[in-house]
Amino acid sequence: MRNALTLLIALAAVTFVVLAGCKDQGNEAGSGGVTEDSVKLGLFVSTTGAIADFGLATKNGADIAVSEINAAGGINGKQVELVFYDIASKPEEAKSAATKLATQDKVLVGMGAVASSLSLTAAPTFQTNGVPMVSPSSTFPPVTEKGDLIFRICFTDEFAGAALAQFAFEDLGKRKAAIIMNQDDPYSTGLANYFKARFEQLGGKVETTEKFANNTSDFNTQVDNVKSATPDIVFAPVYYNDITLIGQQLRGKGVTVPILGSDGWESPTLLKNAAKDLEGCYFGNHYSQNDPDEMVQGFIKTYADKHGDKPSSLAALGYDVVYFVKNAVDKAGTFDRAKVAGAMRNTKDLKGVTGTYTIDNKRNASKPITMLKITGGKVEMVRQIMPEEVK
């Protein structure tokens, strides 16, 4: 009995020694991450685990923005030091990385995460420590409700789902929809929910909602049910690997109506694997690689020179998030966190690779969604749906 107790104490002591680090009592009030000639910005995304691709793209985009900014003289005269932590697609890692960034590295701003569930885990830590957090790509609405220091620079599922429904109903004139979604994925279920609500509010009807689980490769059941519902459009808010198979199997069973998708479709391999099956289909994205805009093309060129392929939306958002922080510091004219957060809240018509955006009163980015069409083996931009169009 006493042995076990002593053992425990000994182990606790060992843990202390291993982790020994003394609390810095002199917590400089307000301004964060600033040394004589540099300012620290935190980045936490998953570069390992289930969604590593997205995290890597985000980091690559952010790295480009940081080197551009540093080459041009930094933020407010200070060079940017990017403190990056991998959070391995795990909430416990998101929490510890957030704590490390906010309390040990004392970064000015934390940028991340991609997955909404990980952003939700990190947000309270940043909020209680008074460090602003900006998610580049978490689209789940409640993320920014965690506090007045939590921001995002992408649109929400609420907006995207409604915009896509409106696009299907008004632009394409469709009335009978079928939904295929991944029930394990909050992104997929979120979009499906908002799409359905808006589509039916407009007067359309969702005939059936077909669910599948992660790592499904046989979609026969779902495809059969979609077929018997005879929809005039199929909404599939899923990732590119799933839509490749879904497209193939839908066409194989003779369902020829257009499929409408979301930014999860975007991938260099989409056209390689599914150009034929997805001909005439649409998806909504954060930006178009064909956008003739100088800033967009400039970013695409820099990225392609460095990494060999064109940047995905995640990379573009990773690039934009750094400039969002820079813009706020420039506006605030100081590294005081509260003032920087204030400037973030007042961000208006900031131009980024992913469109021009304004931060609304819920600290979400109000920005357009870019509708793309797959036609003739290419992805072409149809139009941008502006936030004021979707009510």
Binding site: T15, P91, K146
Partner: protein, 365 residues
């Protein structure tokens, strides 16, 4: 009995002291990691009773943990879920909001997991070895998929805004002297470790080991093997449920994605690393495998190679298994007596082991 109670009280006091010390002098990040270590210790020690002591290879620990996490968070959290009719998120206020409510919710989570342990244990514990592993793995996945489809607890999004509780001793606001997560977590660590240590040394524990060593022989000796196995399963499930509840309130979010079978595998790896069957091993395994990925963060940051952390982590595991396949401790335990043997010439006066007569008197009361 009185002796155990006194030990427990001393232990709780140490927890409280440790909590205050950490909050006062140690960086929040380090405290966060220490708290995660605590949760891992409960998971590993409780799984050790099933996998190590009783020799039943279970891969369902994440499932029990998920049940505990969701049940406890269900009581303490404002539930926000999607109403498809109005396309809006509806919020139900939390059922409990006091520290006692929190403790109740944790226990409820443990009990729910234990009940699940009985329900799963009865049919599956007839299976042996690989078959049992697969059946329990299936159980874990079933739990996760059920939760994913349960809109009330957030579906695939999970629950966020899980509160953190604290016992305020004095003061207010941020400067208050208070017992928080560390106290709760390590109190349960101590309860779990002390109980498991007692169990291991009791007749009951010996019976569990007998089941592991040779089920047929144990049966012949009059040990009700099936009941023993179910007991171990329920015991492990209860503490996994408690660990799940603590985990949920530490991270303030619960998502089904936290409880994939990879989580179960992680706990099994802790056991194997420390030495399957050794409680000390389980504790050391839990500490190493929780601290290692965090300690490697700085390496990754310096090297600027995203992902290198996991490569190093895996390498450490591979090397350890090559050079020490029985785990760090094998089936040995670290105890004071062992330490005394290691330090020659030093003698501690007084008998460390309780006299048998004394113990027996205790149990009769």
């Amino acid at each position: 009995m009185r002796r155990s109670l006194a030990t427990l009280l001393v232990a709780l006091a140490i927890c409280a002291g440790m909590n205050l010390f950490l909050a006062q002098f140690i960086e929040e990040y380090v405290v966060q990691v220490i708290n995660m270590v605590g949760v891992s210790i409960i998971l590993a020690v409780s799984l050790n009773v099933i996998n190590g002591l009783t020799g039943q290879f279970s891969l369902g620990h994440a499932g029990f943990m998920a049940i505990g996490a969701y049940v406890s968070a269900f009581f303490t959290t404002d539930l926000s879920y999607f109403n498809p009719d109005t396309a809006e998120y509806v919020t139900d206020p939390a059922l409990v909001s006091s520290v006692w409510g929190y403790l109740g919710a944790l226990i409820a989570g443990g009990v729910a997991a234990a009940v699940a342990g009985v329900l799963v244990g009865i049919p599956t514990l007839r299976l042996k070895g690989d078959y049992l592993a697969i059946a329990t793995l299936g159980f874990g996945e079933i739990v996760r998929i059920l939760i994913t489809n349960f809109e009330k607890v957030g579906g695939a999004n999970g629950l966020s805004g899980v509160p953190q509780f604290q016992i305020v001793l004095s003061g207010e606001g941020k400067d208050a002297l208070a017992l928080d997560g560390t106290f709760f977590i390590f109190s349960f660590v101590i309860i779990c470790v002390l109980l498991s240590a007692q169990l291991q040394r009791s007749t009951f524990g010996r019976a569990l080991i007998a089941v592991r060593e040779n089920e047929l022989a144990a049966e012949v000796m009059g040990i009700p093997t099936v009941r023993m196995k179910i007991f171990a399963f329920v015991y492990g499930a209860f503490f996994a449920g408690i660990a799940g509840g603590l985990f949920a309130h530490l991270l303030q979010t619960v998502t089904p994605a936290s409880f994939t079978f990879m989580k179960s595998v992680e706990v099994v790896v802790m056991l194997v690393l420390g030495g399957l069957g050794s409680m000390t091993g389980a504790i050391v395994g839990a500490i190493v495998l929780t601290v290692l990925p965090e300690a490697l963060r700085d390496v990754e940051q310096e090297a600027d190679l995203p992902g290198i952390r996991m490569v190093v982590y895996s390498l450490v595991l591979i090397l350890l298994m090559i050079f020490r396949p029985q785990g760090i401790f094998g089936q040995r335990e670290l105890s004071l007596r062992l330490l005394r043997r290691l330090v020659p010439g030093r003698r501690i006066s007084g008998d460390e082991t309780p006299k048998p007569s004394e113990d027996r008197k205790g149990t009769e009361l």
